[in-house]
């Protein structure tokens, strides 16, 4: 670990000021500290933001939900509103990490977490994300857990967050506060695909603070859920995952929101699948037909070819679990 200084911000203004001077925010510390130990991250100054007033889940005027950036994963998952309105969020959170981690980790930190690519985390390996221009060891290396969607020749790492997949499906937005004031960024624009700058991961300006994630209102009733496929039963990142939210009225699917995880460099929306579902009646045949398009555009690598088929089946299964039949 490289030496660093540590300050605790008493309030938002102080935090922003420290951020402006290049300080690095730390919330639960569950992933930043790991990365510092591996010397992947070498911040000179840590700014503890845990005292900031961003710990609430509140209703928005428009009928949506606002989850403060410092709300713990466990708290968000257990929140009655989240549970009843957006089970997909609760499920994604509860299938993440471990109980201990969820008690420490925050929503802001979660969507900021960096890839689990083993080469990224091994400072002796080539990685364009960590060291631009050094190459991508994963491209021709061991890439079983890597992305098949949204990849580039410079980076094939997945974004590991589960709840980010749910946020992407629900078309959440990220509220930011920076030296230049507040702004809000659609979730789809917040996490960046690698392209030829894989070191740029979020649309965050220097010193900007995430204050909340906002879920917009959705027409009810909304049925939703999250499925995570992994080698072991618990405590592992996704091989594939699917967040599905369906609005069904009069026996017809009026709206479908689907995003998948474990397969993309960012949480991956599936508009083509959504289109195939909209206006149709739930049936096993429909699930299969729609899911067929889930891996469109996939570019599999040596060790992750199986993800193409696994992804389709994951989406098909989760459509059935959320939408019923069989």
């Amino acid at each position: 670990m490289y030496p660093f200084s540590f300050t605790k911000a008493a309030g938002t203004r102080e935090a922003l000021e420290a951020g402006r001077r290049g300080g690095r925010y730390i919330a639960g510390g569950t992933t930043l500290v790991d990365l510092m130990r591996e010397t992947v991250e070498r911040p000179r100054t840590l700014v503890d933001i845990s005292a900031l007033p961003m710990r609430e889940v509140t209703d928005t005027a428009r009928g949506g939900l606002r989850i403060g950036a410092l709300v713990r994963m466990a708290e968000a998952a257990a929140h009655p509103k989240v549970r009843t309105l957006y089970p997909v969020i609760s499920q994604a959170l509860e299938l993440s990490a471990s109980a201990q981690l969820r008690n420490m980790a925050t929503i802001g930190g979660n969507i900021m977490q960096r890839t689990r690519c083993a080469y990224f985390r091994d400072v002796t390996a080539a990685c364009n994300k960590r060291e631009p221009g050094s190459g991508c060891a994963a491209l021709q290396g061991y890439n079983r857990t890597h992305a098949i969607l949204g990849t580039s020749d410079h980076c094939v790492a997945t974004h590991p967050s589960d709840v980010a997949v749910a946020f992407a499906a629900l078309e959440a937005s990220v509220h930011l506060l920076g030296p230049d004031g507040e702004r809000s960024v659609p979730f789809a624009d917040f996490l960046l695909q690698p392209g030829d700058t894989p070191n740029r991961e979020q649309a965050l300006r220097p010193g900007e603070l995430i204050t909340a994630v906002e879920i917009p209102p959705h027409p009810g009733p909304l049925k939703s859920g999250y499925m995570k496929v992994r080698d072991r039963q618990s405590y592992e990142f996704a091989l594939t995952s699917a967040a599905v939210a369906l609005h069904v009225r009069g026996g017809v699917i009026r709206q479908a929101k689907i995003a998948v995880g474990g397969v993309g460099t960012v949480p991956w929306r599936l508009p083509a699948v959504e289109r195939r579902l909209t206006g149709r009646r739930p049936s096993d045949a429909l699930w299969a037909e729609a899911a067929e398009g889930a891996a469109e555009g996939a570019r599999p690598l040596t060790h992750n070819r199986f993800k193409v088929e696994l992804l389709k089946r994951t989406v098909e299964r989760q459509l059935r679990i959320v939408g019923g039949t069989k």
């Binding site: 670990m1 490289y2 030496p3 010397t39 689990r116 083993a118 080469y119 985390r121 091994d122 002796t124 390996a125 060891a137 021709q140 290396g141 061991y142 857990t145 496929v229 080698d231 072991r232 039963q233 618990s234 405590y235 592992e236 990142f237 091989l239 070819r305 199986f306 088929e309 696994l310 089946r313 994951t314 098909e316 299964r317």
Partner: protein, 731 residues
């Protein structure tokens, strides 16, 4: 057999050191408080093969608190004498730390930084710049040239195969596995003049003592090794690895005690692993399921500097009554570190292949897999004609089948469903040698009627403190709580390594012998003492129970140890005893297991989840049922890992271990191990050793993986011959 009543042995005693452990008072290697200790951090190579071209330690040396950076450029030449008291493969040249510029595997220690704080040492280690002249490395078992084979043959296997009614030919690939004990390897070393003392994580204090003596060229008596608690090892702590030498070297160079703990990542580099295997098996049988021939061709990885071996041919020779067997095993030298025995070594890998093949044969012939195994049960050891001391495998299967509900299963593959899940059950045999080694012990009864018993053995998890206490308590006629067993110090009477499941048989027998001697001494003192109520009684008629010496059949007549000692103005009585296993035995001695597994396989997603497992064991006398039960559960968990999850991944482009951490190297978590049950057959094996035990700790891991693979086949109709079995094989 002992005349003493059995009281503590067989009782479900909780671990005697349990409280120390759960309250954090048990001191593991890195936790001993040593005055003036400083910290060492190892720098590892980032190439697998080549030479160190340059070392720049300037930045590291300017860090506050840094005392020294040691590399091959300035390390003293060490004696590295041959060491006969070692488990290193014979004929190899062990890795010599900082003695030259050669790099022989990725992660090899190439420098060590010593500093007054751990943080300073860690950071300085990051700042040491090392450049290499890297050479092309080869780390892939597949396609690399192999050494000359070792072979075994009986009958004429090729001919028998040619004329067999049924012939099967299979290839298996087993991944490399790492031991991954919870506690990282760690050493604290301190020199007092030319005497060296180390606190180490080890399964063999005597081995570490001799290796340190050999490396530093000092007498073994000058080295003392202390290791009272070990947080798991599974074999990884059987050798004295480079970091132990480095700690001692660093301590000598800086003139202060040095603590060195490996990081989790470093645990994948140079403390051994279960080697990757390629195993080809051809099998011939008649239509009634009598196996007539087996041809085994094995290959496994080893380092270029040591030719690792493990007992991977034994099962193929003795498990079934096969008249024609031919075997060859080749090591493949690679630019990797040397493997080391991991739970059930050799047997476990071989069992996966043999027991998967037997399952294939059962389905091929339409014979129940248990029935098929019973049809091939030998009456005597087919490899040497010796009678078995005890072999109750039939009984294991009978009891297991009943308990598991085996006969309710529909034998047709892919015939049982539960929603999205296909359900399958499978069986396999487990079997492991009864190893025994020379062991000694010391025992003392104090004036207060309590006893202390010692042996330089270890407790890496099996519960040795507890089981030895139980043996000693019965032999001394004391309650277990009045006996303290001590271990883990090379100055104690010597004991063998805690490996190959030999501790209970060897140290247990030595403890029994020692305590028998001590008890007899006390009895002799009493019957010859005119002041004793036992005066004049035939010593053979005296037993001791609850600390009281008394006449068999006339319990009223007797006295306690305290009374005896007080009257004889003694403060204590001591005895030394030992166990020396016979060189040759008339018997073939093994422990046996019948393993049952039920799995659910998601038919579309290819996920395998174990639903329940049952092991039924013929392991001789069970000293400590609670400990035996945890061993079995641990063995099943290890086997589930081997079957479904564990896989050390090497990037063969540069020999790097890709998943050198516990997030990417998967081991089972609680959710993966729902319902595990163990049954030990009641009994004892008096041919095996004086206390009637057989081996247990390895046995419980062997046969688990094939039982699961066989259940996967039954569930899905898919035979997977590569471990671990992951989704991609079943989609």
């Amino acid at each position: 057999m002992s005349p003493q009543p059995q009281a503590a042995v067989g009782a479900p005693l909780s671990r005697v050191e349990g409280r120390l452990k759960v309250t954090g008072q048990a001191k593991y290697a890195a936790e001993h408080d040593i005055d003036g200790v400083v910290h060492a951090v190892v720098v590892d190579s980032s190439v697998a093969r080549g030479r160190i071209a340059g070392i720049d330690a300037r930045a590291a040396l300017t860090q506050p608190g840094v005392l020294k950076v040691i590399t091959h450029l300035d390390a003293p030449r060490l004696a590295y004498r041959d060491n006969p008291v070692s488990l290193a493969p014979r004929g190899g040249r062990r890795l010599r730390v900082f003695q030259d510029d050669r790099v022989q595997f990725f992660g090899q220690p190439v420098a060590v930084v010593v500093a007054t704080t751990l943080e300073a040492a860690q950071h300085a280690a990051d700042l040491v710049e090392i450049t290499y002249d890297a050479e092309k490395s080869s780390t892939d078992l597949a396609g690399s040239p192999a050494d000359e084979p070792q072979t075994y043959a009986r009958g004429n296997a090729e001919q028998a195969l040619g004329s067999a009614g049924v012939r099967l030919e299979m290839s298996y690939r087993l991944s490399r596995n790492h031991h991954n004990p919870m506690e990282p390897h760690a050493t604290i070393a301190r020199w007092d003049g030319d005497r060296l003392r180390v606190w180490d994580k080890t399964q063999w204090v005597i081995g570490v003592q001799h290796e340190l003596a050999a490396v530093f060229g000092i007498p073994a008596e000058s080295v003392r090794v202390i290791s009272p608690f070990v947080g798991g090892a599974f074999g990884s702590a059987l050798r004295t690895w480079p970091h132990v030498i480095i700690a001692a070297l660093a301590a000598r160079e800086v003139g202060r005690p040095v603590k060195l703990a490996l990081t989790r990542r470093q645990m994948y580099f140079s403390v051994g692993y279960r080697p990757a295997y390629e195993y080809k098996l051809r099998l011939g049988s008649d239509r009634r399921g009598r196996v007539t021939a087996m041809v085994h061709e094995l290959k496994h990885e080893t380092s270029r500097y040591e030719r690792f071996w493990e007992a991977n041919l034994v099962l193929g020779q003795m498990l079934y009554a096969v008249p024609n067997v031919s075997q060859s095993v080749r090591t493949v030298p690679l630019d990797v570190s040397t493997p080391l025995w991991m739970r059930g070594p050799g047997y476990s890998s071989a069992a996966f292949c043999i027991e998967s093949a037997m399952d294939d044969l059962a389905y091929e012939l339409g014979i129940d897999p248990i029935e098929l195994r019973l049809r091939n049960e030998p009456n005597e050891d087919p490899s040497n004609g010796r009678p078995f001391s005890t072999r109750r495998l039939r009984e294991c299967f009978r009891v297991g089948a009943r308990e598991f509900g085996w006969h309710r299963r529909n034998p047709t593959p892919r015939s049982t469903r539960d929603g999205d899940w296909l359900i399958g059950t499978g069986v396999a045999t487990g079997c492991y040698d009864v190893w025994r080694g020379q062991a000694q012990a010391y025992a003392r009864i104090d004036a207060d009627g309590t006893a202390v018993v010692e042996s330089a053995t270890h407790d890496a998890g099996p519960g040795t403190y507890t089981s030895m206490t139980q043996v000693a308590a019965d032999a001394l006629g004391l309650e277990a709580r009045h006996v303290e067993f001590r271990l883990g110090d090379s100055t104690m009477p010597p004991a063998p390594p805690q490996g190959a499941s030999q501790t209970m048989a060897s140290v247990g027998s030595a403890v029994q012998d020692t305590c028998d001697k001590l008890r007899k001494q006390a009895i002799k003192l009493a019957v010859e003492d005119e002041g004793s109520p036992l005066h004049g009684v035939d010593a053979d008629d005296v037993v001791v129970s609850g600390g009281r010496l008394q006449v068999k059949g006339d319990r009223a007549r007797g006295e306690t140890y305290q009374q005896l000692l007080a009257r004889n103005n003694g403060t204590h009585l001591v005895a030394r005893g030992s166990y020396n296993p016979p060189q040759e035995s008339r018997f073939s001695m093994y422990g046996y297991a019948a393993m049952f597994a039920e799995v659910a396989v998601d038919a579309r997603l290819g996920l395998v989840r174990v639903r329940r497992m049952l092991g039924v064991y013929d392991a001789g006398r069970i000293i400590s049922p609670k400990l035996a039960d945890s061993q079995a559960i641990g063995g099943m968990v290890g086997g589930i890992g081997m079957a479904l999850l564990e896989h050390t991944v090497t990037d063969h482009r540069d020999g790097r271990i890709v998943n050198a951490n516990l997030a990417d190297y998967l081991v089972p978590v609680n959710a993966d191990i729902p319902d595990l049950k163990a049954i030990y057959l009641d009994g004892r094996d008096d041919e095996a050793d004086p206390i009637g035990v057989k081996s247990l700790g390895e046995l419980v891991q062997i046969g688990v993986a094939p039982a699961i693979a066989n259940a996967v086949f039954h569930a899905t109709g898919r035979r997977v011959r590569d471990l671990p079995i992951t989704a991609e094989a079943l989609l």
